[in-house]
């Protein structure tokens, strides 16, 4: 079954490559530069240590994993041309493409991928996203071995045997210059039919061991050590000012049609001025500038808005008054007018939602209506609750991370709840500094009774939305959510090898979760960019990090005939 799937994706990839190369206007020799404002300068650009969207937006230009995502969020072959799961789903074997090379022309074989995953799991690396590969047999033990040297050595040995680079016939590889070393096998601690999708992430990017060792701790700052296998090569980096990538002629999929230049302006008003001045080709648009964009026909035509990768919800602490009572949670969910929110607060740069997994992602449930806006039902739910009336509710403190945008957002939420529940509702706003907010909301003890929080997809699989977040002990533990029935469903789904059955189990789990009204779903984010007309060939994907088409940037090009005369 798996194999069939991968062959199918190969076909899809092939058709995409054809479309990119065979298109009537697709350039062959044109070579422009895409100038993008990406906001904050990354803290660290190291495949096994990075974790921010902006950081990943740098890494995925220079490196490529065994698999990757296309614009439709399907997992397609990257450096590996195919993969298979063993019948019991606990072994995943990749076959690499032939003649893979780094941008410096050196050989890229399976040993390189083995090294990168070992480095990711190694507690000495202490990568912030290391936990994402915990399905590897022995990985959690090695990461968690602490000061116990014997335990560490034992766990390390297990992981070393769980990751196997070999020849196609199973012979062991001899090192980084072994040309026949094209097979990479990962042994998993349990069936994890989504793991090839996880390996599309940056943590599996094959950073070169020699470079990391030669460059020391700051190797990633120096272009000479960033030798990757991605479509671009780092050519210049001045921190907090600019980063330049040039196309990589050694890339197996063909050299991209353009170079990339990132700038780091974090003030959206300034970035907008620069865009209007033709100093950027792509910027993220800001809600504040929406009026100015809408009233200018040119800008309006350049404004690109499409579904994003996050779901934001109002979280109710299940163990704190008054949200211990499901009826109260229902009431506050009923009282949220998501459509008005999107129009009033978000300038239509978000999408109202009533479900957890966002549209475009596997597992999305269309037509969810539970706990949608209905003021009457809201009042009725309060009447049915153990409190009986709005006046009996204790004072509610809406806590939020204090930024200009958030202040407006929460003033709106509180005002609307007051509209629905009347003046008897005792509700106050509690603004806290942003990192304090993060610290408060991460712990079940300190998490406020009601706050706004969300989740953004790491990889397109329902496991990432349901098991990682809402399973007991997952990220949702902060609001005290724990439902054994839900846990049983997702546990079964996680190891299920039949895709249809697996999807069905996740669907049931999500339904069950929605029944509990643990949170009030609010909206899905949208990606919104201003894109100059000469940027061509991109296809939007919810998970685009820095610009539209970021998931599959090699198909893009700059139509220099449209560039303004200088």
């Amino acid at each position: 079954m798996r194999k069939l799937f991968s062959i199918l994706s190969l076909v899809i990839l092939a058709s995409m490559v054809l479309a990119a190369c065979g298109g009537a206007k697709a350039p062959t020799s044109v070579h422009g530069t895409l100038r993008v404002n990406v906001g904050a300068f990354p803290d660290i650009i190291d495949p096994q240590k990075s974790s921010f969207v902006g950081e990943i937006g740098h890494l995925n230009k220079m490196y490529e994993g065994l698999t990757k995502f296309n614009a439709k969020l399907e997992t397609v072959p990257g450096a590996a041309e195919s993969w298979t799961y063993s019948p019991d789903g606990t072994e995943l074997t990749f076959t690499l493409r032939k003649n893979l090379k780094y941008s410096d022309g050196s050989l890229l074989n399976a040993e390189r991928f083995r090294y990168s995953l070992l480095r990711n799991v190694n507690p000495a690396t202490a990568g912030e996203y290391a936990a994402i590969t915990d399905e590897i047999l022995g990985a959690p033990e090695w990461r968690g071995c602490g000061e116990d040297v014997a335990a560490c050595d034992a766990a390390k040995a297990v992981v070393e045997t769980s990751l196997v680079a070999s020849h196609a016939n199973g012979d062991a590889c001899t090192g980084y210059d072994d040309k026949s070393c094209n097979t990479f096998t990962v042994k998993l601690s349990k069936p994890a039919p989504y793991f090839h999708t996880v390996l599309a992430l940056w943590v599996g990017y094959p950073a070169k061991q020699e470079n990391i060792e030669a460059g020391g701790e700051t190797w990633w700052l120096d272009p000479q050590y960033h030798t990757g296998n991605g479509p671009w090569m780092l050519s210049e980096m001045e921190q907090a000012v600019t980063t330049k990538f040039v196309s990589n002629p050694e890339y197996w999929g063909g050299e991209p049609y353009y170079d990339i230049e990132y700038s780091y302006i974090t003030d959206s008003a300034v970035s907008f001025e620069a865009y209007k001045n033709d100093e950027f080709d792509v910027i993220a648009s800001a809600g504040e500038d929406f009026g100015a964009i809408e009233s200018d026909p040119d800008l309006k035509a350049q404004h690109v808005v499409y579904a994003g990768s996050c779901t934001i919800a109002i979280m109710f602490h299940q163990l704190k008054e008054p949200f211990t009572d499901q009826k109260v949670r229902e009431a506050f969910a009923y009282a949220l007018d998501r459509d008005a929110w999107v129009a009033d607060v978000d300038s239509n740069l978000s999408l109202p939602t009533l479900t957890w997994i966002p549209p475009g992602y596997p597992g999305y449930k269309e037509g969810e209506t539970r706990w949608g806006y209905d003021p009457e039902k809201a009042l009725q739910a309060i009447a049915e609750s153990s409190y009986g009336s709005v006046a009996n509710l204790p004072e509610i403190n809406v806590t939020f991370s204090d930024t200009a945008r958030n202040r407006v957002r929460h003033e709106w939420i509180v005002a609307k709840w007051k509209d629905v529940f009347g003046p008897d509702l005792k509700i106050a706003l509690n603004a806290v500094e942003s990192t304090t907010y993060t610290a408060l909301t991460k712990d079940i003890e300190t998490a406020p009774s009601v706050f706004r929080l969300g989740w953004c997809a790491d990889y397109p699989d329902p496991q990432n939305w349901l098991s990682v977040y809402w399973k007991t002990g997952g990220f949702g533990e902060r609001i005290g959510y724990s439902n054994p029935e839900f846990d049983a469903l997702v546990n079964a789904a996680d190891v299920e090898l039949d895709p249809a059955k697996r999807a069905e189990l996740y669907q049931q789990a999500q339904d069950l979760f929605m029944d509990d009204a643990a949170v009030a779903m609010m909206y899905n984010t949208k990606n919104h960019y201003l894109v100059k007309p000469w940027v061509k060939g991109w296809s939007a994907s919810p998970q685009d990090g820095l610009f539209p088409g970021d998931m599959d940037p090699t198909a893009m090009y700059i139509d220099e005939t449209l560039l303004p005369a200088q």
Partner: protein
């Protein structure tokens, strides 16, 4: 035109050679002050804003937190067609990002901003003056210790300090007072007195070696007397300038600290006294400069007017209190 040849307060009042009138010194000063047109204008502006602040509920057409759906980012009523929108007579100065009436918000903002501008400034001036005088006048070890203390406070990580104060005191009685403003005053005062202290100390260092201080010492004046009757009045000029600078500084800092959760609590009750401030309107306006530049203009003009008013009044006061200037205006 009579001009005394001595710096202010050099001689005891009773010894003043030319006792022109039987009025008290305060009365004289007041007379000189109200003859100064700029100072009077300043007083009027301040009085105007005080009245606006006191009667905000009566003066504002809407509740400052009332959200009007569908009319966000309206320009002022006299502006036709900006970003495809025209001003409406209902919203004289336009609306903000949630469709709230800007005029009402500016009117309410006067309350917070007038208080925030004045109270911390007064505290800062008092602490700074005392420490500055003490250090400058005593010299030696006292000076050295006090000035090393100012070095420390200068380098103080105030952002961290503010965050801690906010987190630990916010939910206590003190944190709730004046909608969180009291905490803000205290925090601002603790980190900002150093500038005034060093300014005064510099003046004192130079003044205490002057002849008239020598003279006062010779006739047996006490230290405290010399400090407050002779040296302080002659240090007024830089002090007045620094007060005029401290007011807008505090108004703007209030808004920036707002984003650390320190200071004004966001309000959801229109009956609250302190709801919004000019500073936060300025910050909203900066981020929305393309959508609605007027959002920025109105509070900026208000802050500038207050600063001008205090500058005029300060200059007037300084001149009025200076006997040498008697009769010059």
């Amino acid at each position: 035109m009579t001009v005394t040849n001595q710096p202010i307060g050099t001689l005891k009042d009773s010894l003043l050679p030319n006792r022109r009138t039987s009025h008290s010194l305060g009365y004289d000063a007041w007379q000189r002050l109200i003859r100064n047109k700029a100072a009077v204008a300043g007083m009027f502006i301040i009085a105007f804003f005080v009245i606006v602040a006191l009667f905000a509920p009566a003066l504002s057409p809407y509740s400052p937190i009332e959200i009007h759906s569908g009319v966000k980012y309206l320009p002022p009523m006299w502006v036709k067609d900006f970003n495809g929108q025209s001003g409406q007579a209902e919203y004289i100065l336009g609306t903000d990002t949630l469709g709230r009436d800007i005029l009402s918000r500016v009117v309410y903002g006067a309350r917070v901003s007038m208080i925030v501008g004045l109270v911390p400034t007064i505290i800062i001036v008092i602490i700074g003056t005392i420490i500055g005088m003490l250090a400058g006048y005593s010299g030696g070890k006292v000076d050295n210790l006090l000035m090393r203390l100012t070095d420390i406070v200068y380098a103080f990580p105030d952002l961290l300090f503010f965050i801690i104060v906010m987190v630990s005191l916010r939910d206590t009685f003190i944190g709730q007072m004046l909608n969180g403003l009291l905490l803000l005053f205290a925090a601002l005062a603790i980190v900002n007195w150093v500038g005034v202290a060093r300014l005064i100390r510099g003046q004192v260092l130079s003044l205490k070696e002057k002849e008239f201080v020598e003279a006062a010492r010779c006739i047996g004046a006490k230290d405290l007397h010399i400090m407050f009757r002779h040296i302080l009045p002659n240090s007024l000029s830089p002090l007045i300038v620094s007060i005029a600078f401290s007011i807008p500084g505090a108004i703007i800092t209030e808004a920036i600290l707002g984003y650390l959760g320190l200071g004004l609590r966001p309000s959801s009750d229109p009956k609250d006294i302190f709801i919004t401030s000019w500073g936060s309107l300025l910050l909203d306006g900066q981020s929305a400069i393309n959508a609605q530049p007027y959002l920025l203009l109105v509070p900026a003009v208000c802050v500038a007017l207050v600063v001008l008013a205090f500058t005029f009044l300060g200059d007037g006061l300084r001149d009025a209190l200076d006997p040498r200037m008697r009769g010059t205006q």
